[in-house]
């Protein structure tokens, strides 16, 4: 048997392997170039981008929790114009698909941003963040109300012909309902899950640890929730899914594929091990080889229940 085939395709974006880097955990790629080979991961998803530069929240913005971390960065980013001028030239030199995560304060901003990104040949696809739990306006409303989600995804759909991924929030009662709304509005793929809203308290000070009071929980602690949601959504929709949530190892990634994900995103793991994404991709290949599996696609949704 030759080398196993790790390639997958998400909404027309061809990935050499299923491992992407999650938005907000991998900067604009360059930050990690010293630690891994950017051409050995499936895709780079950039830090959430808005129309105008965004300051983000006050500090403290992060706190570690058992098996995870809370963050409330507040979508600090350079804005689309600086992204094009300062960040894109490097990404252009890397032979790996670049997916831009985008975020708007208003419906109109989502549309305008998608239009601008649509014109950039370097951008392989868009991932729409309708689910950031850490900003006051916008995000959370779109991410938890199926009607609002339908509206924003429809508008982005009209503004771009690029592959359109929508990132779902887990902070809802019925994730399947949200998934349906996004697919009906024209999403080519769904990525899930974003962080779970949580908080941490300092007993001595009797104060919340994060300046924003609440933050998004990520890391191994949320993996079971993420697996459950990916599995539920996989039963309900036809579009490819990208599994996210506490993926630290190749085993974690392969579990998400069994649950129905076509690809995965590695997030928090990048923080503790900047070479995590590459190690996970290598580990997946080793698993396929060791188990005589010729094609990773055989595992997608192959969960026996």
């Amino acid at each position: 048997m030759g080398k196993p085939d790790l390639s997958v395709e998400i909404a027309g974006i061809k990935l050499r392997n299923p491992v992407m880097t999650a938005s907000g955990t991998f900067g604009y790629g360059k930050e990690f170039a010293d630690y891994l080979d950017l051409e050995r991961i499936g895709a780079i998803i950039t830090k959430g981008l808005s129309l105008h530069p965004k300051a983000g929240n006050q500090t403290p913005r992060i706190v570690e929790t058992p098996g995870g971390m809370l963050n409330a960065i507040g979508l600090q980013n350079v804005g689309i114009d600086a992204f094009i001028q300062e960040k894109l030239p490097f990404l252009r030199t890397v032979n790996t698909p670049v997916i831009v995560n985008l975020y708007g304060n208003t419906l109109e901003e989502y549309g305008e941003l998608a239009e601008k990104l649509d014109k950039l040949p370097e951008v392989a696809g868009l991932e729409v963040n309708i689910s950031c739990p850490n900003v006051k306006q916008g995000g959370i409303v779109f991410g938890t109300d199926p009607k609002a989600a339908y509206e924003v995804v429809s508008l982005v759909r009209q503004s771009t012909i690029k592959p359109l991924i929508v990132k779902l929030s887990p902070n809802v009662t019925n994730v399947v309902e949200m998934a349906h709304a996004c697919v009906d509005a024209g999403a080519d793929a769904l990525s899930l899950i974003n962080t779970l809203t949580g908080m941490a308290i300092d007993l001595q000070k009797r104060r919340p640890i994060l300046a924003n009071i609440t933050g998004g929980l990520s890391g191994p602690a949320i993996k079971p929730v993420a697996l459950r949601m990916v599995w539920q959504v996989a039963q309900a929709v036809e579009v490819p899914l990208i599994g996210i949530g506490g993926i630290m190892t190749a085993t974690d990634a392969l579990e998400f594929m069994l649950a129905g994900a076509t690809a995965v995103q590695v997030g928090t793991a990048n923080f503790l091990d900047p070479s995590a994404a590459q190690n996970i991709a290598d580990g997946m290949e080793a698993y396929l080889e060791a188990n005589g599996i010729a094609d990773v696609k055989e595992l997608i949704g192959a969960l026996a229940t």
């Binding site: 907000g24 930050e31 403290p60 992060i62 995870g68 963050n71 928090t268 503790l272």
Partner: protein, 271 residues
């Protein structure tokens, strides 16, 4: 750079404060004073994140066990403050740690002819030792070390052995002068050489007071900040501090990990 490092020693130098010496690859020897490393205290998901530590010392010793006949090592000086540092303090010689670094921007020593003034608060002394070691070769170096109590005054003998003139103060007066380190600093500034530079590391209020003194006396001053950080490479944006031009409309956040941890005090906002 990411590498495995073996612990050479891990000694409690004062109650709750440890000094850990560990091996490093030869390339780590190029680290400059003020840079830091991120240590994974164990290969598990709890604690999840690495812990940042300033480089206390760095050097080589002769050994028969490497190809080049020398072994590069570095040391960190840390205080046990939580789960991560508690676990670190229980590690022994021969234990192996996963390290990221050297990271960030260090101190800029500047013109060797001037006087170098170090200001350290508690464990903030850590990066100043390696800096002093480099600077005593060419410059006059004075150290102002402060802490809440005598047990927070660390490694003063080591500084003195380098030839550094030391001024110790404690908030409760149990060692050295009674009062804040910045009060002692200002008292001793007046009768100095004209060409001075201040290098400070410690808690934020101490750095702020030091920055104010530097401003009043028009002395160049570099401060090393401490912050909670997740990645250490400028990606998570968890460790940011406000830059000089910061406003909500025109954000000017600097990453402590990547743009710092050492900053010219004029580059930051102190409110």
């Amino acid at each position: 750079m990411q590498f495995k490092s073996m612990i050479i020693s891990n000694i409690e130098v004062s109650p709750g404060y440890f000094r850990m010496k560990m091996t490093a690859p030869p390339a780590a020897g190029s680290a400059s004073p003020g840079q830091f490393i991120m240590v994974r205290v164990r290969d598990a998901i709890d604690p999840l994140l690495r812990r940042p530590f300033g480089i206390f010392d760095l050097g080589t010793f002769a050994t028969a066990y490497t190809d080049c006949g020398t072994q590069t090592y570095f040391e960190i000086l840390y205080r046990v403050v939580g789960k991560g540092t508690d676990m670190l303090s229980s590690l022994h010689q021969g234990d192996v740690l996963d390290i990221l670094g050297p990271l960030g921007k260090g101190f800029l020593p500047g013109d060797p002819s001037g006087e170098k003034i170090l200001v350290g608060g508690g464990v903030g002394l850590a990066p100043l030792y390696y800096l002093a070691k480099e600077m005593v070769k060419t410059s006059r170096v004075r150290l102002f070390a402060g802490g809440r109590t005598k047990e927070d005054i660390l490694c003063i003998t080591e500084f003195e052995r380098l030839g550094v003139e030391t001024y110790v103060s404690t908030d409760d007066g149990t060692l050295g002068a009674s009062g804040l380190v910045t009060e002692v600093l200002e008292k001793h500034l007046t009768a100095g050489i004209a060409d001075k530079t201040i290098f400070a590391c410690g808690p934020f209020p101490m750095l702020k007071a030091t920055a104010e003194i530097a401003g009043r006396h028009d002395i160049p001053c570099q401060v090393s900040l401490e912050a909670y950080m997740a990645c250490g490479v400028g990606a998570c944006l968890g460790c940011v501090t406000k830059g000089r031009n910061h406003s909500n409309e025109t954000p000017d956040y600097r990453c402590v990990c990547k743009d710092g941890p050492v900053f010219d005090y004029r580059e930051l906002r102190w409110d």
